[in-house]
Amino acid sequence: MSPVLELRNLRKSFGMGSGFANFFGGAPQQVVAVDGVSLNVMPRKVLGLVGESGSGKSTCGLMAMRLLDVTSGEIIVNGTDITRLEPAVLKPLRKQMQIVFQDSYSSLDPMMTLSQIVAEPFVIHGMYTIQERNEIVGDLFEKVGLDRSYRSRYPHELSGGQRQRISIARALALKPDILVADEPTSALDVSVKAQVINLMHDLQEEMGLSILFISHELNVIRSLADEIAVMHNGRIVEQAPTETIFKDAQHPYTKSLLNAIPSLDARKRVRRSFMTAEEITANIPKVSQADITTTANVSTTGPQLVNVSEDHKVEAIVEG
């Protein structure tokens, strides 16, 4: 089966200190936000991308949606390389790919009614008659668990959870194949978070969606994702099926993320020890050439992502 979304060796660097330093002849600094990321989102599967702020996870999501240009690498959606398509050529393809952001307040136009917001994708792509649009929008409201009577309201009249439902309804309006969800539950209250996670759960099964689910919360990802990729400093450091990550994490950074999940067991008050960034680097696993199942030739300089089993990849130093 071929992936719905394929990211091949994506890189993104941002120029820093533009202007002043450059003016006086200083070399412009580069920040590498994403440093060679390859990911496949398979049909009807949820891939969780976890990492802390600055890991490059959101940058990956934005590049995958062509909302940010890549520095190098390729983005393939349903077999089509969209990396460098002109806007006019890209526009019809955008129907296949949609995104939901963390902050539903700033991603909904405050001047538009909820039904205008959800119908906007149809307007942009010139789909359906006005009557048909109304009908479909009503159906979408129901699908995301909002009453049809809300259609003439404005975003500020809704709670955070309800606004996020509208963002999801808008993203699903065009029946996309791939949905990027960038921290969709992070800004929500605890009791509402579960509702939105369950909604995404249902919609994914019902519509056969493929989702790239970006989050800093391993716990949230656990209940939704089939597979987890852990991102650190712009690189994927480990990737495996969800429960493998929870039971058999190999990379020190993955372990430190797992270690940081607060326990709900009040009996277990253990003093945790935390790894510093240096310790994480020092503890990158070492594997011998014979232990890895990668067929491609691997060089022995610097850590790289290698297969330690069929579906488990870890960034490791390969020794000859």
């Binding site: 009791s191 509402v192 579960a194 369950n198 939704l224 430190s256 607060p262 008050r269 945790r272």
Partner: protein, 321 residues
Amino acid sequence: MQLVDIKDLRVSFRHHDGVVSAVRGVTLGLSKGESLGIVGESGSGKSVTFLALMRLLQAPAATIEADKLELDGSDLLNADAKALSDIRGSLVSMVFQDPMTSFDPLFTIGYQISETIQTHGNTGKKAALAQARELLAKVEIKHPDRVLKQYPHQLSGGMLQRAMIAMALSCEPRLLIADEPTTALDVTVQAQILQLITDLQQETGMSLIIITHDLGVIAETVDRVVVMYGGKVMEIGDTLEIFEDPLNPYTKALIESIPGREAGKRKLIEIPGSSPNALSPPSGCPFHPRCKLADDKCASDAPNLSTFGKNRSAACWKVVQ
């Protein structure tokens, strides 16, 4: 005598659409050396309760009423500015969610911490700076000398929160109130800050109040938990009891809806509906519109907080002795 003694606290705000009752009759206490977690969602009144205790809410926008609002025996409700300043300096300190906006961007960390020490203590500039350096080392900042000379924007969120805690500890408070101290931080940093706060509490013997929306933050850190909803206290108990045998249906639902408790891709147990509107709160029990067990009585009469065994109370008609 209790360190914190709040009886029937009511706080309301004037709003152009009417009066918002943010806190509707909260009663709670805290003994010396104890750590207390206040859990609630946004709008539950958890932060407002303690802003009111610290008298950080201004009239005429806010109206504070209470039968008792005491800190270490002194009345806060009618205290004047001078008395309040003394209490804030010597008795209690507060750490807020966002360390970036809690520091003044124009002054160095060292200046701001030593300023606090000078304001509340009888120390000179030099001695205050030396004390600030010591405090930074105490909160496990690796290069205290460098950080003293740095401005807030030069530090990461985790480092700034450590500096904030250092500042809060500068007057050796007997009570530290931390309002969502880790919410704005990365997951790995969050765990470290929590550990730091618990360590410092044990070391200094101060009392601790952690206000949070995240039950996970509390389970490992505090002795007792207060669960708030819709401006009211729903349940109070020892942490272990709250997690193992929640009495109030809201507490139970809150614990059950935490994602990732069990392995595998699965649907979560969700609480239907949304939090009550503070402008027109529901009659009776604030949770009744979302509660599975609710009946007519829950909708018409608000249950009082009643005791169930030692150190345990809950406000719910459905909990029987």
